[in-house]
Symmetry: C2
Subunit: 380 residues, 2 copies
């Protein structure tokens, strides 16, 4: 039996139509779509359950990193410990993460012989401006041990004052690029992505454009964080990635998008969808290899990789792959808003019904896809 | 010609139904209703224009206070200046206030021979959790000179870590109490407010209950701020109040609510509205006298009144009083959501049409109402 991994269908999606807006205001540089709000069966909050499992499973790693690596001077120098979660969506995973981190910091504080009662926590929940912060705020745990704040804006730009955050956290958000690469949207250029909606099964030119966009985004991401983090601070990121030696097209979340793209082309051939619209539509998500990730950190030069765990066994999650319908509904939950805007409301049922069927037909391809989530600890 | 002042029809309203919730979670202690969102002609953003005038008019006072009173040690000790606006609603007045304050702090910084380029600003926009933070975030100025964050929760409880805010600002929000006084909601008690929706034209028992609730709220408000403000910090509050020597029932915003209450009773007599619903409905707003305000500050004991301006001439705003229809639509803009929940959607048109007529009939009473807005500067 092949190893099975879930996709990460819970994050916003970039697309070209927002790029003009992205150029206007720095806090909208992340030309991305918010996750679907609401509490219905296909909403983000429900479908993010498997990620909660991942966060719980990684709790031990995080506690250990905080215990071993968090600069002691931080705990001594301030009575307020500030945490920022980048790409928080609408909860509740972001709350669980914050609570895990706080617990670990309190333990560390006590282990230094300090009175943890005097330490206060402030947690900044960040996502793009289009995120549903109202929903996030309304679902904040009432018994929380921290002061909460929401910070709207793209994490590819500055979000916080200099040296003001003790610990950055981000789960599953970093693969979402700031925008679809411009080259891919150039109808007359070599990277025009005709007949596809993603890079992993596309021409070398498209792959290169995605690679370059990701490299540029990572540079901006790390540059901003380097200014915002306090000396001795820690960054903890869950980054779905591409396993070493696995081609883009065989990496698991990518396989899922490829099949969805082929469904759109089927509908285009049937005349249900305008083919032009498929050509000009791309999902702004890129999965780095461990090498690309290391290179990005090295190029920035302000952080050292304290530790990198390759979480693969944590992400086995049979149910979703044994039920192509469930998988289709998860993907629909995260992409519906995006597809609606590009293709119209009326194709959604047909598209995702076809998608469910195709996932079933190609189940062996899905199951043979390889996945990894890098759990990365960076020291400032 | 009598002096004419506008009401302050732009803030959320407390009511009993939320009190149970208020008892559950500390961040919802302010059992208040959010202002009406959206951009329509009767929305908050449009109707708050007159307050913008007030903020602009008071700019000079604020600049002067910052120049003279803001502790210099604050500017030297940190590279980040943190501002919190309490009761921000959905903008844009909150943004104008923040910009005015930032400009004044930069001037002060320069006047100390410091390089204001190195100073960064972080502005926390606070309002109750039910506020439309999505709208607030989407309308943040794109060219802002500050890092923005939203903080949901009642300002009658703690919102920020100890000693973390340099300057608190609040405009027109403080009269909104955390809840309708419990005594006023006791059907069998002496303060049951039968046939009225407000305290100013009610029995002594009702007035006392409002007074006591306000005193308790002010105690909690100042206690929380005293912990959150840095030493040498400044608080700047616009507080609509009751002019010395003016009875509650002749104070201007109160007159406006009294007339609205009488309209509801007219509808109750006509059988359009259930009288029981009028009896159990109260607006949780209280206007302090200067003495009450001073007493509250004194009782808390952690702040000194640096200055108190009585802004009355700034608030003359003929247009709204010369047009009872305009006034009625302003009041509707702010109270619609509240009235809808208590009395149902279907009475709104009739209620506010009647209200417009009554305001016209009683224009001399409106125009003879006295008003004051205290601009209060408190030193930590």
């Amino acid at each position: 039996m092949n190893e099975k991994k879930p996709p990460h269908p819970n994050r916003p999606i970039g697309r070209e139509r927002d790029m003009a807006r992205a150029e206007k205001t720095s806090d909208q540089l992340c030309a991305a779509y918010p996750v679907r709000g609401g509490d219905g069966p296909s909403s983000y909050a429900v479908n993010s359950v498997y990620q909660r499992g991942a966060v719980a499973a990684a709790k031990e790693f995080i506690s250990k990193a905080i215990e071993e690596k968090l600069g002691t001077e931080i705990l001594l120098s301030s009575k307020t410990f500030r945490i920022a979660d980048l790409g928080c969506a609408v909860g509740p995973n972001s709350f669980f993460s914050a609570e895990n981190i706080i617990e670990a910091v309190q333990l560390k504080y006590k282990s230094q012989g300090l009175n943890s009662q005097t330490l206060e926590f402030q947690v900044f929940f960040n996502d793009i401006t289009a995120n549903d912060f109202n929903k996030l705020f309304r679902s904040l745990p009432s018994n929380r041990q921290f002061y909460a704040a929401g910070v709207p804006g793209s994490f590819y730009g500055r979000l916080f004052p200099n040296a003001s955050i003790n610990l950055f956290h981000s789960a599953f958000a970093i693969p979402w690029m700031s925008q679809v690469p411009k080259a891919v949207m150039d109808r007359n250029g070599p990277a025009w992505n005709k007949g596809r909606i993603f890079y992993s099964d596309a021409s070398d030119e498209v792959v290169s454009a995605y690679e370059a966009q990701n490299a540029e985004d990572m540079e901006r991401f790390l540059h901003a964080r380097a200014q915002e983090i306090v000396s001795g601070g820690l960054m903890v990121f869950f980054i779905p990635g591409r396993p070493d030696g696995t081609p883009h097209s065989h990496t698991l979340p990518n396989v899922i998008y490829q099949i969805l793209g082929s469904c759109l082309m089927d509908l285009a051939r049937k005349g249900v969808v305008d083919e032009e619209k498929v050509d000009s539509f791309n999902i702004a998500n890129y999965l780095m290899s461990s090498k690309e990730l290391e290179n990005a950190v090295e190029r920035n030069g302000r952080f050292s990789i304290e530790r990198r765990e390759n979480l693969d066994h944590f992400f086995a999650h049979d149910t979703v792959y044994k039920s192509p319908q469930l998988l289709a509904s998860q993907i629909r939950a995260s992409l519906e808003g995006l597809f609606k805007q590009q293709f119209g409301d009326e194709i959604l049922d047909e598209l995702f019904e076809l998608y469910g069927k195709k996932l079933e037909e190609q189940q062996s391809m899905v199951e043979s896809g390889k996945a990894v989530v890098f759990l990365l600890f960076l020291d400032a």
